[in-house]
Amino acid sequence: MNRYSHPALSFRCLTTVWALLLVLTGITVFVSRLDLGALNIWAALGIATLKASLVVLYFMHLKHEPRLLKLCLFIALLTLASFIGLTFFDVLYR
Amino acid sequence: MTDLPFTTIEAVDAVFLYIFGIAALLLVGITATMVVFVVRYHRRRHPQPQPSPSSKLWLELVWTLIPTLIVLSMFWYSWEGYLKLIDVPPDALKVQAEGRKWSWNFSYENGRSSDRLYVPVGRAVRVAIVSRDVLHSLYIPAFRVKKDAVPGITTYVWFRAPEVGSYDLFCAEYCGVSHSSMVTTVEALPEAQFSAWLEKSKKPSAAGGPALLSRHGCTGCHSLDGSRRVGPSFLGLFGRQTQVLSDGRERTLTANQDYVRRSILQPQADLVQGYPPVMPSYQGQIPPDELQTLVDYLCSEPLSAAPAGP
């Protein structure tokens, strides 16, 4: 049995992801120069999340990790989201 | 105002009774069951355990659901009570309370201010709470109200004093060395007496050195009788040889008018040895005429002509 739960990713795959990340960086800079009002921040966050997912799934090999680890990451993100979200019950309604 | 409309005391105490009642029942129930089991199934009487199922779904569901219902009812009832605490009657008298290290100052809409909170009996009072320095908390146990004084924002409580009397008022949020002496009272007066007090003198007499000392909270830390508090006593201040720390250097100076004035405006400039550097600056907090009165008073006969030695 292979000692690693995931195989070595090909150079082609990694560079493709890198190119995508650069393109997304370009897009986010471009979008930020448009005046979308409150949408700007959500667009920026959306693109950043997309970029982050690419890094996590490919560079960090999460795609090939067992489901347990994906679940753990989900729990961590959910915790962070609830910390920020619940705080807003205070700051938005004060 | 004989039949009072509604007080914060009732709002809170009803919730107290409800939760305490249920909590006491639960505690007695749990403890009694435990004791009965321990006695009944003690190894002396009951040397062999008898088999019984190690889980029972219906039982576990019941004792999950019942506490759920109980706590939800508690939540609901307590929220109703809380709503009454934040629902200020529209006719409430408006007072502002300012917390500072380490005293309270209450000011009324007509400009009157005081270090005690005077209120008319039976009438709702809405206290707007602000802080000059750190967190404080306005707490009147008799009326079951409490709210933090937070620098930068204004918070509120309201209450209605049910009877004539004097009620304790505490600072409940830790605020430093004299936290526990940030104590004053709510004086509930009959309506007529209160109005008379409110109109008596809108501004305290300019001549009143002692009044100024208490209004600006000086006596919270500096005694007038030579006893040691957070800061040095005012007794025998004028002309005293004082060891101070100026810019990190030790030196000895003789307390004169300039020194007294400087100590009020820049307390850390010449710090008396042996005392913590905790006094806030009063720059911009005291009108010039009042400052002059204070300095004159502190350097005047009754305080400086003191018996030598502490």
Binding site: L86 | M34, Y41, S54
Partner: protein, 537 residues
């Protein structure tokens, strides 16, 4: 030769000086003992500080200390007890000692990281102590470090903050270690349904340590930067918001309460079935409620802030969530009591402490309802009622569970038994002293005496005198207990490998356990509470 083997992992090696043999050991049992000794020492220090505090409060006005000293004393009492005793206490000491044994592992997943955790803990403790004697003198902010007071006070707060940060880091590493260990190193046959409940509770705790502690870390860093260069993130004069500090602080510090109490619940869940000779009632419910408490407990921090000036909407949400977190705790209590049903109960010292835990924790939990309720919290918030309440939870709960664990597991660790009679007497004295100390505190709080008061009005004196007297009784009981345990561990009769006839894996080994506890992972064949199978893996 046989005599040497008796000492198991305690046996000194000839390779290096004895002290190095311990403080650089990567064996989980030795690290566990290092934790046990250090948290024990800090506990005694905390008790001494507490007794001094109570002595000051025996009468209004100055009694034994100045106001500044008193404020430093309660700050120190809080910091020592919370960060140096309760948080690392059960997981650090008994978690390290027992977790690998209970799942049949050779050690934790990262033994060297484990040693690093202890060293960081000691470093943090050392810095906390240094903060007393350097800079502007002992911190006087209370363990909560609320701004703006903490960013202004000239006392040596910055070093204390750094100490807390480092101890937090140690706690995170322990959490990482435990989660990995439980996931990866269970012996064959030790599936999730066979995990001892203590392990379940450590698992839930470890997750809270990993996810909540860093928030405290960043908060301490921000406060340090605030003191250093006046960044203004919490300073209203510069656009900051002091209430946000409280959010960040309690985002960690409320879950921290569950870091403190969950392992304690785990200990009690181990002890009750053994001494009632009955399998735990509702194993799954207890395990699930540990996880539920950890999850829901991370969402209720706002109930520390009902009078802080936080929005009423937030009060509504946090009050509701707080009431919900009471449910899994209640379920646990019911399960423990139900485990006693039709058992054959023997009241040996571990069981006495465990039963006292159930009673005292119930009081702590039920008075917590008063604090979770928005209307009543307004009255009792920041009074001695709160002080009494959390001592019922933290001391009556975690403290008693810690004592239960001492009496339950020390015979395993040292292979010797303490004097049962003395232990029972100590238990009784501690129980009486405890209630004498903390019950009057709750009453005086209901009458309106605020906490952190150096001086108080004369009407509060009677109850304060009772509480202070209680502190002496309690201290005497603790002294007797520790002396008895110490004598037992040194000179007690041999305990045998399984004195309580328990069925979890650690009792399969000799007492003390051998240096290589499970060099070959055992094949686990039964659940943790199949008491008929006691002594078999």
């Amino acid at each position: 030769m046989a005599k040497q083997n008796d000492r198991g992992f305690l046996q000194a090696s000839d390779r290096q000086p004895l002290l190095f043999d311990w403080i650089f050991s990567v064996d989980h049992k030795r690290i566990g003992l290092l934790y046990l000794y250090s948290v024990g020492a800090f506990f005694l220090a905390g008790v001494a500080l507490g007794v001094l505090l109570r002595l000051e409060l025996i009468a209004p006005g100055p009694t034994i200390a100045t106001a500044q000293t008193y404020n430093a004393l309660f700050t120190l009492h809080g910091v020592v007890m919370i960060f140096l005793f309760i948080i690392p206490g059960i997981p650090g000491a008994f978690g390290n000692l027992m977790l690998p044994l209970q799942i049949g592992a050779r050690d934790v997943a990262f033994p060297r990281l484990n040693l690093l955790s202890w060293w960081l803990y000691i470093l943090g403790a050392f810095m906390a102590l240094t903060s007393l004697f350097s800079g502007g003198g002992p911190p006087d902010t209370g363990w909560t470090f609320y701004v703006p007071f903490s960013s202004e006070t000239p006392t040596n707060v910055s070093l204390a903050l750094l100490a807390v940060f480092i101890i937090g880091f140690s706690s995170i590493l322990t959490g990482v270690n435990f989660v990995t260990t439980i996931h990866r190193l269970r012996a064959p046959g030790m599936h999730w349904g066979r995990l001892p409940l203590f392990v379940w509770s450590l698992y839930a705790t470890a997750w809270v340590q990993i996810l909540a502690t860093p928030v405290l870390g960043i908060t301490m860093v921000l406060l340090m930067v605030e003191r250093l260069i006046g960044l203004g993130l919490f300073d209203p004069g510069r656009g900051g918001d002091p209430i946000l500090y409280q959010h960040l602080f309690w985002i960690y510090s409320h879950p921290a309460v569950y870091i403190m109490i969950l392992p304690a619940m785990g200990v009690v869940s181990e002890i009750i079935p053994v001494f009632a000779r009955k399998p735990t009632f509702g194993y799954k419910a207890i395990a699930a409620s540990s996880v539920a408490i950890a999850a829901a407990g991370s969402l209720v921090w706002g109930h520390h802030m009902f009078v802080s000036g936080m929005s009423d909407t937030a009060i509504l949400v946090f009050s509701l969530l707080t009431f919900l977190v009471a449910i899994p705790s209640a379920v646990k209590v019911f399960n423990w009591v139900a485990t006693l049903y039709r058992g054959s109960i023997s009241l040996e010292p571990p069981m006495l402490f465990a039963l006292a835990f159930v009673f005292l924790f119930s009081i702590g939990g039920l008075t917590g309802l008063i604090l979770g309720s928005a209307a009543t919290d307004v009255h009792v918030h920041d009074t001695h009622f709160v002080v009494g309440h959390f001592h019922y939870v933290m001391f009556g709960g975690t403290g008693f569970a810690f004592f239960a664990a001492l009496h339950y597991w020390l015979p395993k660790v040292f292979g010797r038994m303490y004097n049962m009679k003395a232990a029972t007497i100590a238990w009784a004295i501690i129980f009486v002293g405890f209630n004498l100390l903390y019950f009057p505190m709750m009453l005086v709080g209901l009458h309106g005496m605020p906490r952190r008061y150096y001086d108080y009005l004369p009407q509060f004196q009677q109850l304060n005198v009772i509480a202070t007297a209680g502190s002496w009784v309690l201290a005497a009981g603790l002294l007797l207990m520790f002396v008895n345990l110490y004598r037992g561990m040194r000179r007690g009769a041999a305990a045998g490998s399984n004195p309580w006839q328990a069925a979890t894996l650690e009792w399969v080994l000799t007492s003390p356990p051998p240096a290589e506890s499970f060099s070959q992972p055992p094949q686990v064949t039964h659940g943790p509470y199949d008491l008929q199978q006691a002594g078999k893996p």
